[in-house]
């Protein structure tokens, strides 16, 4: 077993060697610009891009013409949300989203609010999912867009996408989903989900960084977007800029592999994830899973280790790469807004660890991580005044803390 162990596959994934192999010739040999319509260099680049487009489309049950390549999911989210807000301005100015969305969605919505749009941020229930009743109640005759993520990047919780899609369709509202964490991991089909716009990213499914896509429905309904980047009119005018051919080829190959291997891979990771969860629960008391276990990505686990702070926990397992919802580990001074939204309390948000398993996670690695974590949590609890107080019977919620 090689150290350090990578167990942070929600942040990014390594490029699969088969993907890299497919990409390499497009840097030096087939370097043409697909927009060059009058020579062979352009043609072969264009052909490679169209093959990739088909592979990405096939992964989500779309047609190739519905795939717009972008620089990544942040751009896709911006294009979808701003593009709809601008294009359908006459129809209305109300957008519905949710408090646990990725910053690329939340901040885009906030920017539109400054420009006069009205945005409803739906709360989530304790399990991390929105309530469909809340969604129905939020819809007005000015609502032009519902944007709700398919799977959360921190807690892996799956939103009821098909049910949201049905409501959106019934009301004639465009439905966008940030599907970065779900695509290529578990089956996701744009028609079953009744979704109109889908953001995707290559580097979350063993493709390269710097390339993503936006699915834009062409039929029933035909969705129109106001372009956000102007120029040569690439990608049906929705996203100008010379195509990142090697990146797109890599994305296509990654999508093809994901489609072929998804069934076995997701089952394998679910088994490993369940083992990780079971062993941690067997070894340690007072640990809490954040978000629904039933509606969750098979390779995600997010646990709060009560009375132990996340950063000190990460310091103790420095040969394991995971992430924490504690503020100390991130640039911001606030703990994870996703965990706070679940209503579990800031103290548990500070004590959380996100595990993301992936293509190269092994059984041996899971055992190692369990052993390391168990030792460190026990050691830090011996050092924790909170754990001591609880063992003495003090109710921490009744204490008068001096916040600083």
């Amino acid at each position: 077993m090689k150290l350090p162990i990578y167990m942070d596959y929600h942040a990014t994934t390594p490029v699969d060697p088969r993907v890299l192999e497919a990409m390499t010739p497009f840097f030096t040999q087939h370097f043409g610009n697909p927009a060059s319509r009058n020579h062979a260099f352009g043609w072969e680049a264009e052909e490679a891009v169209e093959t990739a487009r088909k592979n990405v489309a096939d992964l989500i049950g779309a047609t190739a013409k519905e795939i717009i390549f972008t620089s990544g999911a942040t751009e896709s989210n911006n294009l979808a949300i701003k593009g709809v807000a601008e294009m359908y301005r006459e129809k209305g100015n109300h957008i519905i989203t949710c408090v646990t969305e990725h910053k690329a969605v939340i901040d885009t919505c906030k920017k539109l609010e400054k420009q006069g749009a009205r945005v409803t941020y739906l709360p989530v229930q304790k399990d991390g999912r929105i309530s469909l009743d809340d969604l129905r109640a939020a819809i007005t005759d000015k609502t032009i867009l519902i944007t709700i993520m398919a799977a959360n990047n921190e807690i892996g919780v799956l939103q009821p996408i098909a049910e949201i899609g049905a409501i959106a369709k019934e009301k004639g509202i465009i439905f966008h989903t940030d599907a970065v964490q779900i695509v290529g991991k578990v089956p996701f089909n744009v028609n079953e989900a009744k979704v109109d716009l889908v953001s995707m990213s290559a580097h979350k499914l063993y493709g390269p960084k710097g390339v993503g896509a936006l699915y834009v429905r062409r039929r029933n309904p035909r969705v129109l977007l106001a372009e956000q980047i102007n120029g040569g009119g690439h990608e049906r005018g929705m996203r100008s800029g010379t195509l990142n051919v090697p990146g797109i080829v890599g994305f296509g190959k990654a999508a093809e592999l994901a489609r072929q291997e998804m069934a076995t891979e997701s089952q394998r990771l679910r088994t490993l994830r369940d083992k990780l969860n079971a062993k941690l629960h067997a070894n340690l008391d007072e640990i809490y899973i954040n978000g629904s276990m039933e509606h969750r990505l098979p390779h995600n686990l997010n646990i709060s280790f009560a009375y132990v702070e996340g950063e000190s926990l990460l310091m103790g397992i420095n040969d394991v790469a995971v992430s924490s919802g504690s503020a100390c580990t991130s640039a911001s001074l606030e703990p994870s807004y996703v965990l706070k939204a679940l209503g579990a309390g800031d103290d548990l948000a500070h004590s959380s660890i996100r595990f993301g398993l992936g293509r190269w996670t092994t059984d041996e690695e899971v055992d190692y991580v369990v052993d390391r974590l168990t030792t460190v949590v026990r050691r830090l609890r011996e050092m924790s005044p909170l754990y001591e107080m609880v063992k003495e019977g003090v109710d921490l919620t009744k204490m008068q803390w001096v916040a600083h």
Partner: protein, 143 residues
């Protein structure tokens, strides 16, 4: 973010982890911070009543590595100091010793607060003890 070697050393080999009997008249206990903020420090001093010197100091901390290191260092420094010398420890001394980056300065502030709270508790107990003794003589009916 990289930690300084001293922070790592205190995290891996914390000095003086534990608890002193908090009802002991010569023990002062400081509990500062809040779980929602991600750090809570409990720092205790045991003062020799004859010399006024801190004989022992213990801590327990819920917090990041820098918070653990700050409180661990504080207990090291407290031992052997008089109560007044202890109050002279400044958070900036801790920052300098541990090479804390700007985002971790609050950890040192919390450690200074914990020292002050522990000493204040000790002084309060000493004052109350005298007061109680006086009160007792008044309240206790002679048997």
């Amino acid at each position: 973010m990289a930690y300084s070697d001293k922070v790592i050393d205190h995290y891996e080999n914390p000095r003086n982890v534990g608890s002193l009997p908090k009802d002991d008249l010569n023990v002062g206990t400081g509990l500062v911070g809040a779980p929602e903020c991600g750090d809570v420090m409990k720092l205790q001093v045991k003062v020799n009543p004859d010399t006024g010197v801190i004989d022992d100091a213990k801590f327990k901390t819920f917090g990041c590595g820098s918070a653990i290191a700050s409180s661990s260092l504080a207990t090291e420094w407290l031992k052997g100091k008089t109560v007044d010398q202890a109050l002279a420890i400044k958070n900036t001394d801790i920052v300098a010793e541990l090479s804390l980056p700007p985002v971790k300065i609050h950890c040192s502030v919390l450690a200074e607060d914990a020292i002050k709270a522990a000493i204040a508790d000790y002084k309060k107990k000493q004052g109350d003890a005298k007061g109680d003794a006086a009160a007792d003589t008044h309240a206790q009916p002679s048997a």
